[in-house]
Amino acid sequence: MSLSTESPGESTGTTPQSESAFVAGDIQVSMRNVSKVFAGRTGWLNRITGKTSADFLAIDNVNIDIERNTFVSIIGPSGCGKSTLLNIIAGLSEASAGDVMMDGQPIEGPGPDRGMVFQNYALMPWMTVEENIRFAVETVHPTMSPADLKDVVREHIQLVGLAGAERKHPQELSGGMRQRVGIARALAIDPQILLMDEPFGALDALTRGFLQEEIERIWERKRKTAIMITHSIDEALLLSDRIILMTRGPAAKIDEVLDVPFDRPRDREAVEAHPAYRELKHEMEQHLFRETRAVEASRLS
């Protein structure tokens, strides 16, 4: 992972960032000078009704490199542009400026090489658990034989611990179980990269803890590149190899990138006992506190 913001001097990271773009390792996703502007409302109709708004610069000149087979978390104050960033990588949204590359090719739209886990699960309510996963696999591999299809679906249902719930509809499941389906669906298409936008944001603390450990277990088996947005410092520390800290918006940038040195496979206790744990956690708390306070202050003025 390398990082170069416009003014590297701003970076207050514990891991000093070199200005050179060179990084060791195999870069899979790279963003170069990426900005995103949401167009404001203009035009005579809006002007008459007094509903015009200015253009909004959500993220400004961001550079990120993500190495293959690493788990990267993005953390930052609410509304800073994390989802915007992830949607650009997913191809659901287009960068206003800059280059987004995956394996040397520009990202031009969404595709099954990137599997997405949604915060609100986004399961089709008219399909059972099994059908939701099968729909994904069938869409990506239309020529797969029914027998193989069945195997893939069953394998992933087992992987996330949903055996027995195959024929249930999403609305019969708890939030935690629904997100297991979401994760199984994203993994079943065998993507190069797993993208997760606050996958556990809507869950209670206990369920959240269980699912974090599940993700850790699953990730150790597959070691796919993963990019996860989170608001939880502990979640990021348990799962990630790198943590990207974003500044507040508008014109959000990347503040610093933390290396997480804990050995894998991880468990919560070992992570918390690690000598670097306190320092990293402190660093992240400081960052979030500083940025969030600035957001609140700007809201007051």
Binding site: A90, G91, L92, G109, P110, G111, P112, R114, G115, M116, F118, N120, Y121, A122, L123, M124, P125, W126, F135, A136, T139, V140, H169, P170, Q171, E172, R178, I189
Partner: protein, 277 residues
């Protein structure tokens, strides 16, 4: 929870439901008795206008018509069953044709903003027009009461289905569409496997309203057409025999309930147990 406690809770809940239903039926029967009694006494003692039939005579007529539905002594003396079948046939054909147009067109309008803007003026202009305004046009075009009836049903039952389908399709959750996009689903697959199932509750709701309108309109249209339940009423009006008009109203109401309940059942079947996610 121990099973005995669960059984007790279930029994208690069921007793509550039975209790409620018993009381509702009791109230219904009571109000019906009061209504019929008031009608009977009022008609006998001349509280209403002069020709007002009594409740007992009306019920006798109802019984007679329902037990002798299928006789045929010429167009002005036809069993109510035949008339009902004639009306149902017109509704079925006109409604089916309307649905076959409205659902695909609604899907197109819901998906494509261009189609939506292009076709919206037609919908807005024609939707509020009373179906009976089309009657002279239909008669002039087809010179045939049967085809005119079907035409009127079609043109009046197209709009609710069209509008509801377009609304449902346009408002399919962005999340489902994003899922389809990230999977790289084709346009066809997205429409058939995601958009249509997601919009189905709205489509069925539109079909249900359309059916209600078709059943409302057929009676009115048939008064001017020559057969069917509407004509039955018109004919009895010409005979000045009010009890048979009341009989027809009751029959029309009951058939309307049956038709509506079919769609209510379909609606429940596609509502994915409380919607969302």
């Amino acid at each position: 929870m121990p099973t005995s406690a669960m059984q007790r809770a279930r029994k208690k809940q069921r007793r509550g439901e039975i209790d409620e239903n018993v009381r509702a039926i009791g109230l219904f029967v009571l109000s019906l008795v009061i209504f019929l009694g008031f009608w009977e006494i009022g008609a006998r003692s001349g509280w209403f206008s002069k020709g007002m039939p009594t409740a007992s005579l009306t019920l006798q007529e109802l019984w007679w018509w329902v037990t002798n539905p299928f006789f045929n002594n010429g167009p002005n003396d036809l069993g109510i069953g035949w008339n009902l079948l004639v009306s149902l046939r017109r509704v079925a054909i006109g409604y089916l044709a309307a649905s076959l147009i409205a659902v695909p067109l609604g899907i197109l309008i819901g998906i494509s903003p261009v189609a939506s803007k292009a076709f919206n003026p037609y919908v807005q202009l024609l939707k509020p027009v009373s179906p009976l305004a089309w009657l002279p046009i239909g008669l002039y075009l087809f010179r045939d009461s049967e085809k005119t009836g079907i035409f009127i049903i079609m043109i009046s039952s197209i709009w609710p289905t069209l509008v509801n389908t377009a609304f449902g399709v346009a408002n399919v959750s962005k999340d489902y569409l994003n899922v389809a996009k990230t999977l790289g689903a084709s346009q066809w697959r997205t429409v058939t496997r995601v958009i249509i199932p997601a919009a189905l509750p709205n489509i069925i709701a539109g079909l249900r309203i359309s059916m209600g309108i078709a059943w409302l309109v057929i009676v009115a249209a048939e008064m001017l057409l020559g057969t069917g339940l509407g004509y039955f009423i018109w004919n009895e009006w010409n005979n000045l025999y009010i009890p048979n008009i009341l009989v027809a109203i009751i029959v029309i109401g009951f058939v309307g309930i049956l038709l509506d309940q079919m769609f209510a059942y379909a609606e429940r079947a596609v509502s994915f147990g409380g919607k969302s996610e």
